[in-house]
Structure formats: structure tokens, C-alpha cells
């Protein structure tokens, strides 16, 4: 079986010079990592209202 690990840069003497940051952290389920990264802010769509469970505003 294989073994996944962090990327790193090597200098001329093939000595590891720099590691990757957390942005490249991913394991054996890469698509999970991609899903977790999607979150971002949402655009204002004023008249897209959520389905209203009931019309009386304060009946809960």
C-alpha cells in the first residue's frame, strides 16, 4: 500500500527546505477535504425568501 505525506521543497542537495502549509492537508479521502473547503460567504439575494412555516410572525 502507499503512503501519503506532506509535500516539501528540496534544495540542490535534495535536503527538505520547506513544508507545505495546512491548505494542502488531505488524507485518503481527498473529496472530503475539498467539501470542507467550499465554505465561503453568500451573496445577497434580497427577494429569495425562505419558505415561511407560518404566516403569523410571532406564533412560536
Amino acid at each position: 500500500c502507499g503512503q501519503k505525506g506532506d509535500l516539501y521543497l528540496v534544495d540542490a542537495g535534495s535536503k527538505a527546505v520547506r513544508d507545505s502549509t495546512a491548505i494542502l492537508d488531505s488524507g485518503s479521502n481527498p473529496q472530503d477535504t475539498a467539501f470542507a473547503k467550499i465554505d465561503s460567504d453568500q451573496q445577497n439575494t434580497e427577494n429569495f425568501q425562505l419558505p415561511e412555516p407560518s404566516n403569523d410572525p410571532n406564533d412560536y
Binding site: 460567504d41 453568500q42 445577497n44 439575494t45 429569495f48 425568501q49 425562505l50
Partner: protein, 187 residues
């Protein structure tokens, strides 16, 4: 009811005048520097922001130099917990590992602990502009609350201590000892 204006008639005399604030230099931790520095300076602390921990240690080692206290803030991080649903609630949590190094009647003392502050706000994926401005606004307040928690903790560590026995009634603690003091339970 025993409350006095802080430091008005009973001055706040810190065991150590100079305090180094040591914060990591990254985009998440950096915004904490200004509110923390301002709050400490408002208490009369002489804040130094360009020293590292080893500078402080080596300074405190050689005799004759004025000892410097240190507040080290590491691992400042935000965590966002979101409920399922387009109309949802987001709990934004700021946490940091904070270590203090001060002098308590002549002896160096240290304390480290995690500090965490959280706020919850409504977030509507459908009708909120793409920028989570409410989130950005709350992050600013969380930085300020974290700075306040750190300052409050530093005050508890750096001010002179009195034990309940020595202070007959808590009202007199302020006037009695001539300086603002912290009540310490008997060990």
C-alpha cells in the same frame, strides 16, 4: 458598596512596570495586538511589542536590568460551527493559548491556560450578502473580548495580593493596603 474607581485613589502598582506582549505574526493573530496593547496601556502598563520570549528571558537573567514581565499569546484561531439549513445559526469561537510570566514579590511566576470566547449569530445563506459581514464584525468584537480576558487575567497575576484574613472587610482592601490588590484564597 465597596466599589472604588479603579486606580483613582488607590493606585495600581504592578509588580513589574514593563510588560512584553508577544503575539505571532500572522493574519489571524495580528489583529489582537492593538486592542491588547491599548487595554494594558490604559492600566498604566508600559507595553513593549518588539521583544521575543528569549529576549525577555535573557534580559531578566542579567542582574541590574529591570525585569520585564511577558504575555505570550499562541495559536490564536477561529472556529465556526454552523447548523444545518439555509437559515442557520453560526457560533464563532476565538481561542488562544496564553502564557504569563511575571514576578510575585520577588519570585518569578508563570501561568498558562487556554482562553476561549464565543458569539452566536443568525446567518441566512439566502438573504445575506456574500460577505459574511456579521461574521467579520463579530470577529472584531471577539478580538476585543479576548484582549479584555487576557488583560483581566494579567491584572490578577501582576497586582499585589492580599489574603481574606488580612483584609477585615473587603471594602477596606482598596483603602486598607493603599494600592489596588487582588484577594487570594488561603493555599
Amino acid at each position: 458598596c465597596g466599589f472604588q474607581l479603579r486606580g483613582y485613589d488607590a493606585p495600581m502598582l504592578f509588580d513589574v512596570a514593563k510588560t512584553a506582549v508577544i503575539i505571532e505574526d500572522n493574519r489571524t493573530a495580528f489583529p489582537l495586538k492593538l486592542p491588547l496593547t491599548k487595554r494594558l496601556e490604559a492600566l498604566g502598563v508600559d507595553v513593549i511589542t518588539n521583544m521575543t520570549l528569549t529576549d525577555v528571558a535573557s534580559n531578566n537573567q542579567n542582574v541590574g536590568t529591570e525585569t520585564i514581565a511577558a504575555i505570550t499569546v499562541n495559536n490564536v484561531r477561529f472556529k465556526r460551527y454552523e447548523l444545518v439549513g439555509v437559515l442557520t445559526e453560526i457560533r464563532l469561537v476565538i481561542s488562544a493559548d496564553v502564557s504569563y510570566q511575571s514576578i510575585d514579590n520577588g519570585k518569578p511566576v508563570t501561568l498558562s491556560n487556554p482562553i476561549q470566547v464565543e458569539r452566536s449569530y443568525q446567518y441566512n445563506e439566502a438573504s445575506v450578502s456574500t460577505d459574511d459581514q456579521q461574521g467579520d464584525q463579530i470577529r472584531e468584537w471577539l478580538y476585543d473580548s479576548l484582549a479584555r480576558r487576557i488583560t483581566d487575567q494579567y491584572v490578577a497575576i501582576a497586582l499585589p495580593k492580599v489574603t481574606p484574613a488580612s483584609a477585615t472587610t473587603s471594602a477596606q482592601i482598596g483603602k486598607g493596603t493603599g494600592t489596588t490588590a487582588i484577594l487570594v484564597p488561603k493555599p
